[in-house]
Symmetry: C2
Subunit: 108 residues, 2 copies
């Protein structure tokens, strides 16, 4: 299931990098918006620590999730499709067997 | 220099608890305001992680600083006076030797 870097053509690498960046930007834009809204509702210390907990969890999750290494990339994309940060159509340009695998993984 | 719980009269305990709470409330109110302002200026992921770093550092610092145990309390008050979260006048009601020690420590 793993695909080495040599299994990705230059065209595929461009598609993959663009899709990866797009998902990252979407997720981060959403998080930035949530943090701004949550911050404006801070009224007591517990609200502050709850925001800190949220940021700690999200930073850890995002650091782990956005791992642009070719052997992991199909799993990464499957996760992003599953979570809704990426549409499978945005992977058009990848070889069809890769897209099929990503789609199958995203439904597991 | 340490004062055990038995060295604090009931009146002193009340004064100490009130002063301690007041300093905590001031520092947290300032931090909540800073976080609200900083959140409204978040434009890119780095801003988000900088806010997270600030909250991590402040939470750690505040957890360590606001230690209401009698043997540590004069050091705690000295630190709060030094940092400006508490005025020495707000410790009126403590025995004068305690106030003098706190003042001396706050100037070290």
């Amino acid at each position: 299931m793993q695909a080495l870097e040599t299994d990705w053509t230059d065209v595929e690498k461009n598609v993959a990098q663009t899709a990866f960046n797009k998902a990252y930007e979407r997720e981060l834009t959403g998080l930035m918006q949530a943090v701004r809204e949550s911050s404006n509702q801070i009224e007591k210390p517990d609200d502050l620590w709850r925001l800190h907990d949220l940021l700690s969890a999200k930073r850890h999750e995002i650091d782990g999730k956005y791992d642009y290494r070719y052997p992991a990339l199909m799993f990464v994309f499957a996760g992003l499709v599953k979570e809704g940060w990426l549409s499978i159509d945005e992977l058009n340009g990848l070889q069809s067997n890769k897209v099929a695998k990503i789609l199958a993984l995203s439904r597991m």
